[in-house]
Amino acid sequence: MNEYVIRFLVGGAVVSAFAVLGDILRPKSFAGLFGAAPSVALATLAIAVVQHGAVYAATQSSTMIVGAVALVFYGVIVCHLLMRARLRALPATALGTAAWILAAFGLWAVGGWHA
């Protein structure tokens, strides 16, 4: 239980710091870089190293590569849903997240990381 409280506080703090940085930077396309900052990754990998060791964090970072490729798909899909399909931000990002899950698990299965 204590582990999850620490995760919550560390994750919230790191994500908020990157979000504020994104808020004060202009132009908006540059600020968007901080929307895809590895904030959750930094917090999670740090906790993984302390709790489970470097080998565990190495395994997580291997499949993070797959998640990051899926994140590129996500950004492209959300951009098209907003500009071409003219959806609002909430439904566009929700559909984008569904696409991210499909892409991430599809690549993970095809790449043999599940073995």
Binding site: D23, L33, A36, P38, A41, M64, L82
Partner: protein, 160 residues
């Protein structure tokens, strides 16, 4: 030549206190979720969720809200402007995702040698690749726009 990237501290005044709370809670929840998935299904599945776009969903929605609020103060709907602002943020996120890919590759390469080196090297790789990708995209867009303008008798309006 003007500096393409600048600080706008006034943007902080547009934010409401509960919006910062939402981001904190989302960030904390995403980190808890990643840990819970790793504990339940193993580090391999948990690693996928290190690139979960949870924070981006909140950022894009807040950016859209801010633009709509600003336009409504001028008596306009602002819906289209809000969508465009969120789309620009998404375009930036694509470049940030390329940076995140660099983060993961460098972290995986260095973690066997040095834990501190892996965190520092991966963070540097993220910022360098993201910013470089942003500058390349920006220069490519300028080049394309200037080529388009040379072919037009009437100059095009800058919409970005």
């Amino acid at each position: 030549m003007t500096m393409p990237v600048r600080l706008s501290l006034s943007s902080l005044r547009e934010g409401r206190w509960y919006e910062y709370c939402v981001r904190f809670v989302l960030g904390g929840a995403a980190t808890v979720l990643t840990g819970a998935i790793s504990n339940a299904f193993g580090a391999s599945v948990g690693g996928l969720f290190l690139a979960l776009p949870a924070i981006f969903c909140a950022s894009a929605t807040l950016i859209e809200k801010h633009e709509i609020r600003r336009k409504r103060e001028s008596g306009l709907s602002g819906r289209r402007r809000g969508q465009e602002a969120a789309a620009l943020d998404a375009a930036g996120a694509v470049l940030g995702a390329v940076g995140m890919l660099a983060f993961a590759v460098v972290f995986r390469t260095l973690i066997d040698r040095s834990v501190l080196g892996a965190f520092v090297g991966a963070s540097l790789a993220w910022i360098v690749v993201s910013v470089a990708a942003w500058f390349v995209r920006r220069n490519f867009r300028f080049l394309r726009r200037s080529q388009n303008n040379q072919g037009d008798e009437v100059p095009r309006r800058n919409i970005s």
